[in-house]
């Protein structure tokens, strides 16, 4: 398809755009034009390579060199050295932090070694804005097979056989869901793609839509064929402008090439998709709330039953799956269910995409076989904790999940194991925390989110979570009482039991899991008025020790001028500094200013 001597792939995901990939593209083009070789290379802006920490990433084929943190000013050298002379630009290669070796190929990196891409199969390979690229890697072949060789029942049988479970969080068997959709007879049915990725710190679905939108559209068409639907909707966050744009481009191209619309591939099958923008409500990730939102209403969940497969969008049978679930479907059809089952664990076959972030060296998007241990994810793929700090916890499942401590790191991750250790898969966010993070404060952070996002329909969720938040607020201020810890547990359990939807059912998880795994931190706050991590302001004092050399650097940065020369007099007559605790707002601005070899300012 691209018949040039060289191909240059630039990561065009949101992460790399933020770190300047568009400027890199312009600079590359300019440098190539300057050297008269613009026509020797094709430049493709592709989907996320995953290694966001090292963005912008540029890959050059045919020798598959992986350059990291490329900036516009590096492009001249890339063109003269790599493109013209065929030499690697060593300073732009990734250097292994462990061995110091330069990695030319992405598979040399610990970050990629154990990864396996199924949902992200084409991400970073095809130009997401060009359907012909997708055709070139076998795109829409699965749909062709489903339209010409398989009956709807056969498609469902294949999906059931593969053991694919919903990647949106709950892990419901996808084939079963489709079967319900098929069995509920109606002359109008709908297919919905849930792309309302509201979990903060998660960007899997966005990356798939930005990098491989046709895979999602193809799978939606396959699902439509399986249940007998002719209309599909992608419900996507308005906060994802790039993904929305790429989806719309893909839909228009698919229509133009007859992959969507009427009489697809001459089979007589009709199916079309449109995009619906969400408006910023976390609860709309819940499928019945999503359907209400699609109908122009407040996104409050509905009672189930009836399930959407019986009565969904506009009262018609509706099948709703998550982006990542759809992205697995075309490969299951073309490679077969046994291939899919050969990866992962018996009860959770396949892979899972995670957004790895927080206090971790290699922030990025990763896809690993189910059953990979958290330890591998954090310390091999993730490259461990930055700045020599100690690992404390990993949070999975976002506001619905829990904090997992060191003792459970050897658990192989799948839907059931995570639930068993008090967390959940959720959509796949993984946030790593180190010794400086206070677990009570983190639990409060998540709860603040759910309090704000609770739709208010069910009293236990609306009021219970608010009460829990107030208790946590008290504890982090040093006003907690021992009975608060009992109360938190009781409230949490009641909210879980008595709420209607997944948001309420899981909202107390961050609190309950930290109570289980980090009780000593709660006790330190409540019983001793101390925050061991030094994160809760009201329990921390900033103090200048005797090490002070009266240089005055801290005085200059103090926003409230509360550092005064009132301490012990030094031989040269200068007085050491003291922080006035009454005036101090505990912003911490002074600490980094104190020269590290002095280190006179401490938290206590």
């Amino acid at each position: 398809m691209h018949k040039t001597r060289l191909q240059i792939l630039i990561c065009g995901g949101t992460g790399c755009i933020s770190s300047g990939c568009l400027e890199v593209e312009d600079a590359l083009v300019a440098a190539m034009e300057k050297h008269g070789i613009r026509n020797e290379a094709t430049i493709l802006k592709v989907g996320c390579f995953g290694f966001c920490e090292q963005g912008p990433i540029v890959k050059i084929y045919p020798d598959n060199t992986f350059y990291v943190q490329v900036q516009a000013q590096d492009c001249e050298e890339l063109v003269t050295e790599h493109l013209l002379k065929g030499k690697h630009v060593d300073r732009l290669l990734f250097k292994s932090p462990l061995t110091g070796e330069l990695c030319h190929h992405h598979m040399d990196m610990a970050f990629y070694k154990t990864q396996l891409r199924i949902a992200l199969y084409h991400c970073g390979v095809v130009d997401p804005e060009n359907i012909e690229d997708y055709f070139g890697v076998g795109g829409y072949e699965a749909l062709a097979i489903c339209l010409t060789e398989h009956s709807p029942e056969k498609i469902i049988e294949i999906i059931k056989e593969s053991g694919l479970r919903g990647r949106g969080g709950a892990g419901f068997p996808t084939g079963l869901k489709w079967e319900f959709g098929l069995k509920n007879a109606s002359d109008k049915k709908y297919i919905i793609c849930n792309a309302d990725e509201g979990d903060p710190g998660a960007f899997m679905d966005r990356s798939i839509m930005e990098g491989d939108p046709h895979a999602v559209l193809e799978a939606m068409a396959i699902a439509a064929r399986a249940i007998g639907a002719d209309e599909g909707v992608v419900y996507i966050r308005a906060e994802y402008p790039l993904a929305v744009n790429r989806l719309n481009v893909a839909i228009n191209q698919a229509r133009k090439y007859g992959m969507l619309g009427e009489n697809i591939m001459g089979s007589g099958f009709n199916f079309d998709v449109h995009v619906h923008l969400g408006a910023g409500a976390f609860v709309c990730g819940e499928e019945t709330a999503l359907i209400n939102s699609l109908e122009g209403l407040r996104g409050e969940p509905r009672l189930r039953p009836p399930f959407p497969a019986q009565k969904g969008f506009w009262g018609q049978p509706t099948v709703n799956c998550n982006v990542e679930t759809y992205a697995c479907v075309p490969l299951i059809i073309t490679k077969g269910p046994d291939w899919f089952k050969s990866v992962g664990t018996p009860k959770s076959p396949g892979t899972k995409v995670f957004a790895l972030a927080g206090k971790i060296n290699n922030v990025g998007l990763i896809e690993v076989p189910m059953g990979t241990t958290l330890r591998e994810v954090i310390f091999e793929i993730g490259g461990g904790i930055p700045n020599g700090k100690k690992f404390k916890a990993i949070q999975t499942g976002g506001p619905s999940g829990g904090c997992i401590s060191e003792k459970d790191l050897d658990v192989g991750v799948d839907f059931d194991t995570l639930t068993a250790i008090g967390s959940m898969m959720g959509s796949g966010g993984m946030i790593v925390m180190d010794e400086d993070d206070c677990m009570v404060n983190i639990a409060k952070f998540y709860l603040e989110f759910t309090v704000e996002e609770s739709c208010g329909k069910c009293t236990p969720c609306r009021i219970g979570n608010t009460r829990m938040y107030e208790i946590l607020e008290r504890i982090t201020k040093g006003l907690g009482k021992p009975e608060d810890l009992v109360e938190l547990r009781e409230l949490g359990q009641t909210i879980k039991d008595a709420s209607l939807c997944g948001l309420g059912n899981t909202a107390p998880n961050p609190v309950l899991s930290t109570l289980n795994n980090f009780m000593h931190e709660y006790e330190a706050h409540v019983l001793h008025g101390k925050c061991p991590a030094g994160a809760c302001k009201d329990l921390v004092n900033f103090v200048i020790t005797e090490k002070c050399i009266a240089c005055g650097l801290c005085v200059k940065v103090c926003p409230v001028s509360c550092i005064h020369p009132t301490g012990t007099e030094m031989p040269n007559g200068k007085k050491k500094f003291v922080i006035d605790q009454e005036e101090c707002i505990k912003c911490g601005a002074c600490i980094p200013k104190c020269p590290p070899k002095i280190g006179a300012i401490i938290k206590e």
């Binding site: 966001c52 972030a357 952070f445």
Partner: protein
């Protein structure tokens, strides 16, 4: 101004009239209205209600449910601090506090002179660059507190230059 506003309403009406069906259209219409007006004051709400033939209370109910919609006009400079979890554990709260202090305003408000809007935002999904903010649509990643005064100053310069 008066005439200008008329044109804005006309643009919104044209959008609504071109819709194949008004059934379930409310959220799409509100998106469009916010695009056009920048925010959704009472007058726009009642206009949408009339046009779609739904009670004004329903329009209000829906728009207050979704955080993407706003009923207050935003400032000239829009600072959005990502408060997603990844940014939070990498110190986004300190960045936000610094903006609050330096701009002398609270998060999620607009300054009286309409020069600044400071908002805490849910994840923008660039966790590799945490903590990250966007200022007038442009992102600034891997921030430390001391970057804040420079960002504020550059906004003021740009606006003066323009």
């Amino acid at each position: 101004m008066e005439k200008n506003e008329k044109a804005l309403y006309a643009e919104l009406d044209a959008y609504i009239d071109a819709m194949p069906t008004k059934q379930g259209a409310l959220i799409s219409v509100l998106h469009k209205a916010q695009d056009i007006f920048g925010y959704l004051p009472k007058e726009v709400q009642t206009h949408v209600a009339d046009k779609l033939d739904v009670p004004a209370s329903k329009v209000y109910g829906v728009l207050t449910f979704y955080s993407f919609f706003t009923m207050t006009q935003k400032g000239k400079n829009r600072v959005n601090v990502c408060m997603g979890t990844a940014c939070f554990v990498r110190g986004a709260d300190k960045i936000l506090e610094r903006f609050e202090r330096d701009l002398n305003m609270k998060a999620n408000t607009t300054s009286e002179d309409k020069l600044w809007s400071l908002d805490a935002l849910r994840c923008i999904g660039a966790c590799g660059l945490a903590p990250i903010i966007t200022v007038n649509g442009k992102s600034h990643g891997r921030l430390v507190e001391d970057d804040v005064p420079g960002i504020i100053a550059s906004c003021l310069e740009e606006k003066e230059g323009a």
